[in-house]
Amino acid sequence: MASNSSRGSSERHRIAQHRLSVIAGHLQRPLNGDTTIRATECKAQGTRPDVATEMKTVPRRRQEIMKWNGWGYNDSKFIYNKNGQAEFTGKRYRLSGMIIPGLRDWMESTFGATVQHKTPATPVLNTSAVQPPTLNEAFVEGIKSTGIPFSHDPEDRVFRSHGHCLHEIFPLREGKVGRVPDMVVWPKCHNDVVKTVELACKHNVCLIPFGGGTSVSSALECPPEETRSIVSLDTSQMNRVLWIDEKNLTAHVEAGIIGQDLERLLNESGYCTGHEPDSMEFSSLGGWVATRASGMKKNIYGNIEDLVVHIKMVTPRGVIEKSCQGPRMSTGPDVHHFILGSEGTLGVVTEVTMKIRPVPEYQKYGSVVFPNFEQGVACLREVARQRCAPASIRLMDNEQFQFGHALKPQVSSIFTSFLDGLKKFYITKFKGFDPSRLCVATLLFEGDREKVLQHEKQVYDIAAKFGGLAAGEDNGQRGYMLTFVIAYLRDLGMDYFVIGESFETSVPWDRVLDICRNVKARIVQECKDRGVQFQPLSTCRVTQTYDAGACVYFYFAFNYRGLSDPLHVYAQVEHAAREEILANGGSLSHHHGVGKLRKEWMRETVSDVGLGMLKSVKDYVDPNNIFGNRNLL
């Protein structure tokens, strides 16, 4: 048994290496980790973390590697190069350094966005546009005495004043800055957070927890009506894996760690969490807990609420945590569920014990082409009914299929392009699929090699019953790669008068087709009614399957040339689209959360009593509204 297990562990190590190389494709580790910002050992923490934590992605001064007014890394972006071709810069992603020949045409034909009409962003933040900080001197003194790093540098503060909603990024591109936090603090461990919260309560300052800054619900916006000093509590330096328990397959992790670091560190020991939200490059564990995040591989690993075993949160009332790590408890309502989805209104999540799994032996992408979206949805429904969903299964509608096509990098050989042509001929001419109606599902299988192959066959057999044709691994892999670069694409759009965003919902199976049709049509109609001069892009995909329903993602973008207040138009259309979602039996949010953007619908979503319950929890835990981001309620 012992030898077995040691062989098992070296095997696991090999697999981990393999997996690292797989995900390195879209998530390359930074070349030069900023070791200087590596937090010194938090003395209050008795035990040494038993996991090597040398490379960390996020420095305190985030602006050193990340854009202050756009998505992601400074070095990665879409541009039109000297030849007028679209290109993705940098070295981090598979797409980096590649020419994307179809993108420019697609931009022109989809949005009417031409190279001539450009709206470049302000390159550098004009710090004089940032209002001077309102500091609470007593609080500052208190922080100083604890030795917790802090800053009131304008760049630091602006960086923590927003998430990635369109209306947050768009003004920044124009150099406009609204209310920003007055100060940023970087606690290094749980005890630092306890001290910070105590000081905040004592001196009545407003705390806004900040994790990865990837929110799309206006959750990080400073409430304009807040008169107290606002302190952004940046958890990014609390980023250690404190221990791994191989017997119970759990890991205890500080909540500031970001997704890619967590996976990488666990991979080194042969494990993973399997939690991969689309934002995992930047979003943090604490943020996942606070918003009830969902990962694309939830079919195997579960969503965040299934993954957490234990949570520690610091509130103005003190620290909340459970006394044991029992896998399930019947002890009244689960207090974790006050924390999950609390969106920073109750306290700061500092440490989380999470389930971990051995890194899967084998991973395989796949894709299926369907003659139309209806058939595709029917297939996903059947897959869910038989409970045989792969790690991930996503169905894109025709517009997204075409979009994915436009993002194909330049092919290297005549042979590949010949093959592509042949495939297209086969599908459209031989099989009679209408190119303007067909849609594609992307698949990701994980597990033992044998089981994966078996599973794959089962899924493809079901797909065949709905007219689906297997369309290769490449298409599948590209589909998932796009998830990571699509956010970069919005910045390119904004350079050329195109604004857009995505939003999501969850909906029972029998409503999926109706909601997709109606919301897409509503967007088109609202744009028309509000004077948008160009046909908008209004597209959707089904990204998650459940026993009783699915998660649907909508993408919506339009060319705003000729509009005096594009943001307002955008907001109105998005508002109408959300109304439409609710009217069609969709939920307010599947995993983005409510924030301030969707607050107005909370009452009808959870009923008067439900809202009252949440309010009374808030009133008990945080009577002075120290955690005053005003999300949710």
């Binding site: 409503r511 109706d514 909601i515 049709r517 609710l582 009217a583 039996g585 009808e604």
Partner: protein, 674 residues
């Protein structure tokens, strides 16, 4: 008179309407056969899932909705699901259309021949056709024509075929199916047949609604039905029926389609084929059962001139736009949508408002001919007992006056302004020579027999006169919608004890309430209607209205007298019904009501105490009863031996009669109770 939302008056004069094109014109110059065989490629709904008529049946039978009801019925009745399924299948066979293009082409050919002999022209607004084409492409379309004649749905399909639009599927009454070959022919040209009443039959309702909804959702073809439910025998619009409207908008409310376009269509006949038939029916001669041989007997109609037809395709109405803010579609979130349930209050009131709105837009786009205006004048002249009739000049002068008034009220009047008014009048009279008599340059209704039949009883003579009067009234009725609100106001002003605005409104509101089964008055819109009436009369110079008072201007007396006269026959009729009920013996049933009240009225007419033979109209009598039932003056007893017996509250009925007789202001208590 708490003023509801500020009522925005659109100036009716500014109402923009499209021009017409005569589609028979081309038929008279080119081959009908080639026309019937033309290349026919209608624009289809963009979301169409193509299927043949025969496939619809299995879609309906397999639908979740129907399967649910089949299981429910089989449990309740203790029958096997197979039996119930078989019954559903039989119902569907009886109901379903079998639309096929060859039959449509056959009709296109034969109808061209027939229409050319019957009508001078069939005029269609082509802009409306273009709007319709656009609508068909965008969303499922429901066509809602007015219903005055059997011709209506043949005409609709004919026009749509002519313009290369999808021919509709049409909800038709079961009575047509009785007509042997014709019934089947209609089926093949898109008619589907529904029973007139199937109140409690759950299975029938489920099959029927699912069948209609599947056609709506799939965009199979525009669905056509008549909001009024049946042909209006009086040419007044009928109170809309809500059943089918509920069914067709349901897919929108449940999110199964993005939107539905409702297209009101106004079909106006210069002369209705069924003119005399309707009058007889209203007077109690029962309507002959539809039969093929009956149709052939009606051949003689072919030799007459029926003038022109105007078909106006109104602005498509978006159900989505109208439901915005009125219906919360989330109400369907918590139960599976295939489980049938009664529409809640919110939806009911939405559908009701929608239906009235649609009927009103049908009314607004009805084309009025000069003859319609002449009918007002001739009837009013007849009623004052003027035995000699009017001189042509006088008639012409008055007609021009009414023409101007009606235009101010926004009438869609087809008055050829290039001709001198006298020409217009005389040519109108000649088209309707069956109804008028001209001698010595004087015009009157053709009432008295030229050679009196000695054998005729006075009652028969009376009924003969009534046939002419009711026929003539059916033309007048075509324009009633135009005058009804000002007319109610005119009577209210006459009846009110003072010219205080509030007083006038009180009596207006009483009349409005009383007559809301008789005319299309949207429920709950009394204040709006009052303000609309005030607006029109101020604009035409008949009234001056200050904050508190309503004053009749010098030249307003003629207008008000004319308007008040319009309501007179109805006031008299309602009074007579009240009187009858007051005097009626115990145990009168609903069935006996019409014959009994008719006998009662004939008696009074023969004594010469009544001015209007029109009160003999069974339509008016039924409407009056419906109003009294609604107001609680009469109750219908349910169950027991006296099934359908009417229980009359004599006190209320008596005071209502007094009030209608002109003692309005003294009845405040009553008004309050109503």
């Amino acid at each position: 008179m708490a003023s509801r939302a500020v009522y925005v008056h659109r100036d009716p004069m500014l109402k923009k309407r499209d021009d017409f094109e005569d589609i028979l014109e081309e038929r008279r110059h080119s081959s009908d056969l080639r026309y019937a065989l033309k290349c026919y490629t209608p624009v289809l709904y963009k979301g169409l899932s193509p299927c043949r008529a025969s496939e619809l049946k299995s879609m309906v039978l397999q639908s979740d909705q129907l399967q649910y009801v089949i299981n429910q019925v089989s449990k309740e009745m203790g029958r096997t699901a197979e039996e119930v399924q078989a019954e559903a299948s039989t119902i569907l066979d009886e109901m379903a259309h079998r639309l096929q293009i060859s039959t449509v082409r056959f009709f296109a050919f034969t109808l061209s021949k027939i229409f050319k002999t019957l009508f001078r022209s069939i005029c269609v607004n082509e802009e409306g056709i273009q709007r319709l084409q656009q609508a068909i492409h965008e969303h499922p379309v429901i066509l809602l024509p007015s219903h005055r004649s059997y011709m209506d749905f043949l005409l609709m399909s004919y026009v749509l075929y002519t313009y290369d639009l999808s021919v509709p599927v049409i909800a038709a009454g079961m009575d047509f199916m009785g007509m042997k070959i014709v019934g089947e022919m209609l089926r093949m040209s898109g008619a589907f047949f529904i029973r007139r009443s199937f109140g409690g039959d759950k299975l029938y309702w489920a099959v029927f609604s699912e069948y209609v909804q599947i056609m709506v959702k799939s965009g199979f073809a525009p669905v056509e039905f008549f909001l009024e439910g049946t042909r209006s025998r009086t040419a007044k619009s009928l109170t809309p029926k809500l059943g089918l409207l509920n069914i067709v908008i349901d897919p929108f409310l449940k999110g199964e389609v993005f939107d539905i376009s409702l297209v009101p269509v106004s079909i106006s006949y210069e002369r209705v084929l069924e003119e005399a038939l309707y009058a007889r029916e209203l007077l109690g001669v029962p309507k002959p059962k539809e039969s093929t041989s009956g149709l052939f007997k009606a051949r003689k109609v072919l030799s007459e001139d029926y003038g022109s037809i105007h078909i106006y395709f109104g602005q498509p109405v978006s159900v989505r736009a109208l439901a915005e803010g009125k219906v919360n579609r989330c109400q369907f979130n918590l139960t599976p949508r295939h489980i049938p349930r009664k529409p809640g209050e919110e939806i009911q009131s939405f559908v009701n408002d929608l239906a009235y709105r649609l009927v009103r837009s049908q009314e607004e786009n009805m084309v009025l001919t000069p003859w319609v205006l002449l009918a007002f004048l001739l009837l009013q002249n007849q009623a004052v007992g003027n035995e000699r009739g009017m001189s042509l000049d006088e008639l012409t002068e008055q007609a021009a006056w009414v023409r101007d008034l009606s235009r101010q009220f926004g009438a869609f009047l087809h008055w050829p302004d290039q001709l001198p008014p006298s020409k217009v009048v005389s040519s109108s009279l000649s088209l309707h020579r069956g109804l008028v008599r001209i001698s010595d340059g004087r015009v009157q209704l053709a009432l008295g027999q030229e050679m009196p039949h000695s054998a005729m009883t006075s009652e028969e003579e009376l009924l003969n006169r009534a046939v002419i009067i009711l026929s003539c009234a059916s033309y007048r009725n075509q324009a009633l919608h135009l005058f009804i609100r000002p007319a109610l106001l005119a009577v209210a002003i006459q009846a009110a004890s003072s010219n205080k605005k509030q007083e006038v409104y009180n009596s207006f509101s009483f009349l409005w309430n009383m007559f809301s089964n008789e005319f299309i008055l949207c429920p709950g819109a009394a204040v709006q209607d009052f303000e609309e009436a005030c607006y029109l009369l101020v604009k035409s110079g008949a009234l001056q209205i200050s904050q508190q008072e309503i004053l009749v201007s010098g030249r307003g007396h003629r207008t008000l007298a004319f308007l008040a006269n319009i309501l007179d026959p109805f006031l008299e009729g309602y009074q007579m019904v009240c009187r009858f009920l007051y005097e009626a013996t115990e145990g009168l049933t609903e069935k006996q009501f019409v014959p009994a009240v008719r006998k009662f009225i004939i008696k009074h007419l023969l004594t010469g105490r009544l001015r209007y033979a029109e009160v003999l109209s069974s339509d008016l009598q039924k409407n009056a009863l419906a109003a009294l039932l609604r107001l609680g003056a009469v109750q219908k007893l349910k169950g027991g031996e006296e099934q359908g017996a009417l229980k009359v509250n004599k006190v209320i009925v008596n005071s209502l009669e007094d009030t209608l007789g002109g003692k309005l202001p003294t009845q405040k208590a009553l008004v309050a109770r109503l």
